[in-house]
Every structure is written in C-alpha cells, then in structure tokens.
Symmetry: C2
C-alpha cells in the first residue's frame, strides 16, 4: 500500500540530547518542509513526509541517521534527486550526506552509463589491462601548443588525452579551433603508432553551448568528452547522456565540495547513476587528502555489479606519478584508469618517452 521510498543516510555531529529532534527536522526539511501539524492530508503524511527510520550512535557526538524519502518526489530528475537528498540540509554545517539506498526502479529510471566499463573494454579492444590517460595543460596555451602536447602524448601510446578541466572556451584556445587542432594532431600520431588514442575535450558553458560543442566533437570523429557535473548541474549530464548515446562521458569532480557529500557516494555512485562512463577522483597520497578507505569505497561503488547499471571506470588522478603505477594497480586491480598529468608534462622534451614508459608499465602489469 505504501508508496516507494528511498533512504538517505546522514552523519550528524551534535549532542545526544538533540539528535532525535535534529533527525526529525531533517526528515521534514527534505520532504514537506513545513510543520506536520499544518498538514491535513493523510496521504501526504503517510506517503510524502520524510520518516526517521533509524538513529545510531557512531561515536561521541556523532550519529548516523536513516531518513525515508518518497520516490515520487524525485520525478525522474537528477537535480531533483540531489535536491530531495541534500538540498536545504546542505546549509547545515553539522550534517554530511553519507549514502543513499535507492530502489531498483529508481536506479533503472536513471539508467547509468550507456557505455561504461564493459563498453570501454569492447571499444578499445582491451579485455583486461588498466586504461591510461593524461591531461593537456596548462590553460593559457594556444590550440597549436596543446595540439603539439597531445601528439607527443599519443606517440607514447596513451589511451585517452583529456583537456584540463580549466580549459574551457577561452580566447587563447577557442573550443572549435582547439578541438580541431588537437584531433588532427592525435590522428597523425595514431597513424604512426597504430594505437587508437582518444582525445577527450572538456565541455563548458550551459547545456545549449555543450550541445553545440558535442556537434563539433562528432564532426571531428571524436568519441569522448569531459563534463563537470557539479558545475554544469547533474541534470545537464543526464540530458547529454540521453542525447548522445555513443559518446563516452568522463565526469570531473570539480566543485564537488566533498567535505559535505561523501565522495564515494557523489563520484562513485551518483555520477555513475546519472550516466558517467568514467569518474575522475583524487587518489590518496597525491595533492588531495582522501584516505585509502574513501578511494577504495569510491572505486567499489563505481564498479559494483548491478543488473540495472553498467559499471563506471574509476579514474585515479590528482598528482599521481609514474613510479606509483604498480602500487596503484595493486590497490585497485586493473578495472581502473590511471590519469597522470603534471608528472608527465614535467619531463618536457622527454614527454613521449616517459609516456611510453607509463603505458608500458600498465600494459605489462602484473
């Protein structure tokens, strides 16, 4: 009889004396957003108002609460799922959105990646080994300079070359000009190596601008793009995935503000749910402070077998070095993509050589 629910799991820091009131306040804030006493409709109290399903003490002044929320309120919209799960509650400093438990039908309605890990393995003809990726930077280079870098990366046999996420549609390297120049450079290198390196341009602006950028991507015969869902809006990612089923979508974590939504949920599960084929995140021990546990959970979430959602490829990034490749592969296994940017660019004139060493290490592993 009851309408379907999903479960939002929060970690709350507060005094034990107020946790019950806080849990009830969150249940209301994330659903009807008004005093229950002011609601006279029984079906809303029963089906729509959030419910406090459990409160567990995890440690001193730290609680985990499970709140039941109505699936009907999501209305099939990705932004609305984030809105109902964490919208106004994100304004509270003492609450973190820790996890979501979604019913099968809701997962199925979003549908996840169109290509994902299995599609990438098939399209690249790489059934087992890890994928390799690097980044064009710094921002500010001209299209020709970026194209030159891309050619040298591609000559090193790398699988994917993405734009830095800070490279948008700027005067120094306009999207159309840059994508054309880099695509041509990569085609030349592919002709020389025989290895099908793929260029991954970064989309920016609003949805209409991104649609125009994707038409350029398609005209250049490219297969993959980079999107930043927390900048663009998760509904924008969903719209692109729906409209471009043959494009491989990389999701970038920028503005992910991961202190408040747990990164294994946001990048590992939600970006996958909304259709990202590959999800970039900072591996531990680089420039960002994620723990090994967070990285492991994130990768597991991206890969977890799910009859309704293809796996997303976890892309470990953020200050990785070539020396760490075996260690990283030991940690994740080979269902992973390794993204090395600055550490390869630091080799300057030896860029192609160090790239070749990197791709060779990955190919020979273990």
């Amino acid at each position: 009889m009851h309408q379907p629910r999903f479960s939002a799991i929060y970690r709350v820091r507060c005094d034990p004396s107020v946790i019950e009131a806080k849990a009830q306040a969150i249940a209301i804030e994330q659903s009807v957003e008004m005093p229950l006493s002011a609601i006279d409709d029984e079906s809303i109290l029963r089906d729509i108002a959030g419910t406090v399903d459990s409160i567990d003490e995890l440690g001193k002044n730290l609680f985990e609460i499970h709140i039941g929320l109505s699936v009907a309120t999501v209305g099939g919209d990705a932004g609305q799922l984030l809105n109902m799960a964490f919208g106004n509650t994100s304004l509270h400093e003492d609450v973190v959105l820790h996890d979501l438990v979604l019913p099968d039908a809701l997962e199925e309605s979003f549908g996840g990646p169109r290509c994902g890990l299995p599609g990438l393995r098939e399209r690249l003809g790489l059934p087992v080994r890890a994928f390799t990726c690097s980044a064009l930077k710094p921002q500010g280079l001209s299209s020709d300079r970026l194209a030159d870098l891309a050619e040298r990366f591609a000559l090193g046999g790398i699988d994917f070359i993405k734009d830095d996420h800070g490279i948008a549609d700027q005067a120094c390297a306009r999207f159309a000009e840059r994508v054309s120049a880099v695509a041509a450079a990569v085609r030349r290198a592919v002709g020389a190596t025989g290895h099908a390196t793929r260029y991954v341009p970064n989309l920016s602006g609003d949805l209409c601008q991104m649609q125009r950028q994707l038409r350029i991507v398609q005209d250049e015969g490219l297969e993959a793009v980079l999107v930043s869902p927390m900048l663009a809006g998760v509904a924008t990612l969903r719209a692109l995935v729906r409209d471009w089923p043959n494009i491989i979508f990389f999701a970038h974590p920028t503005l992910g503000g991961a202190a408040r939504i747990s990164p294994d949920l946001l990048f590992g599960r939600l970006f996958r749910l909304f259709g990202a084929d590959a999800v970039i995140f900072p591996h531990f021990g680089g420039r960002f402070g994620y723990s090994p546990d967070t990285c492991r959970r994130l990768a597991r979430n991206a890969l977890a077998p799910n009859p309704r959602l293809r796996a997303s490829v976890p892309v470990a990034a953020g200050g990785m070095t070539a020396e760490r490749v075996p260690e990283i592969l030991d940690f994740y296994g080979t269902d992973v993509m390794l993204l090395l940017g600055g550490s390869l660019l630091q080799a300057r004139e030896r860029l192609t050589d160090v790239t070749r060493a990197f791709t060779g290490t990955v190919a020979r592993y273990p």
Copy 2:
C-alpha cells in the same frame, strides 16, 4: 602590461608551518594545475599562473590568503568562474572560499539582474516598503490543492507566491497543469483584491526543460520564476536570464552549502552577478544556523551600490514567523522581501487572515 586578474580570498585552517606551501598549492591548483617547473612559456608563468598576493593570520591556525587569478581563464562563463575560483580546491576539507574581488569589466560582462530591486519596485509600484512572499507546499499536493492555497494567500494581499523548491515536475502536479491551475486561481484573487499578486513557479530539470517551462510561464502571463542555481548550474541561470530579459528570477539556495563557499559571497554576490533578481536565504534564528553577521553581509552584498549591477532583492526565509516581522525589518530595513511559508500554512482555515495580518504589518512599517 600585465593581463587583468581577479582575486580569490580563502580561509585556510592549518599549522602556520605549512600555510605558505598551501597558499602556493592553491594558486597552482586554481590555475595551471601543474608544477611551475614544467612550464616553459614565460607568458603563462606571468599571466596565467595564480599568484599568492597575501597571507594573513586571523587566529590560531586560521589564515586568510589572497590569490590572484587570470580573468582570461574565465572566458565569460559563470560555471568557469566558479571552477577557477574554487573547483578542485573545494575538495580540500580545510579551505573555504571566503570572497572574490572582481574587476569592473568582468562584473560588467556578467551584467547582473535585468530587473533587480529597482525593476521590482517599479513594476510593483512599491517605492519604499518591503516585499512579501509565501510558498506553496507541501510537495505531494495536487495542482488543484496548490491552486486553492495560492488563491487564499493572494486574498491576503501577498506580493509573491512561490512554489516550494521541492515542487518540480512530479506526477502529482505536473508543471504545465499546476502552473495553469495556480495562475488561474491567483488571477481570480487579484480580481477580488485589486492587489497584483504574482505567482513564482519553480523551474526544474535541464536547461531545455526549463526553456519549455518558461514558455508555459509566458503563455500564462506570469512574470517570475524560481531557479536553484547550485542544482541547475550557474551557467543555466545565466542562459535563462539572457534569454528571458522580462522575467523576474528568484534564486533558491538549495545545495548551496555543499561546496563550502561563504553564503554571503555565493548567494549575495555571485547569484546577483549571474542575474538573480531576488536571492532567497535563511534568516538567522529560524531553521538554519546562519549568524546575524552572515545575514547582514549577505543582504549588503545583494544591495551594495554598483554602477554595473542592479541590486538583487534579499529574501529572508527559512522558518520565519509573523511575530518577527518588525524585528526583521528593523534589521534589514525595507529593501528586503520577507518569505513566510510554514508559519502561515499552520493557520489552516485562517490562512487568508494571517496572510492579511502579515502583509498589513509590512505595509504599515514602521
């Protein structure tokens, strides 16, 4: 000779021994995102790489740092401004984006609200007094029930009636059906009161869906809509403001806490910069933990005289009650909109009476 810069101001929590290294790391992360030693282009080191302009100790293990970033990297895109100001650095738990100092030309290129406070005062014929607003909720009600509520609010002489931000395009009250029903109900009430109450439907989904929703809004003769920029993406807000110059845009703060951007900057300055005519935020002492200082700074940012940007109307909300109206007006003055939702709805059958008391208090103030 130097290319124009904007300044990003961060608050960083760390040991004094590492603040210089952290500041330099943020300057690089938010610009070239690679070791400076790997960059051989002098113009990029000079014009594009971020600069640490100052480091000040605010208290024990708390620092304020000013980082200079290149205006050219923004490329006129709202999402890209957030990306350059806080993208990857949002992933660090110990850094908050505290403020931005933007050159005049950059402000001018975004342009701010098309209508804003002066436009609202003119269109509503209200040169002095504060504006009043309420909210349709709970989510889950049918279009007819929401229309009935709206009619009773409008009979109380309120200026704006917005959808709750959780009311999207759900099966229980589809956007087209709801907007049509509520608009008709408000028209009936306006015919009775002579006061031009305006209904503010909530847009949701991706940019294309929002454009379709705006065509319905226009067809119904409505003048205002609600958008959630942190869900939809700030570039989506910009695109809508550009395409619909006669529509009044209310911005909702939902999901605005997740990225740890100071609320007076995000809601007061950035939402204004990107074109929001009215910015909703939680007033202190309601359901959210903002301090009086934060609220005062936020309202001042929205209103600060600026020859390039019209003022946005600060909309104080989040658990306000009618009893607090004089106190809130004493605090903000009358360049404000007061949003009372649940506390009016709690009156149930007396909804129109308490709404009339609320609008009367505001009209008679001081």
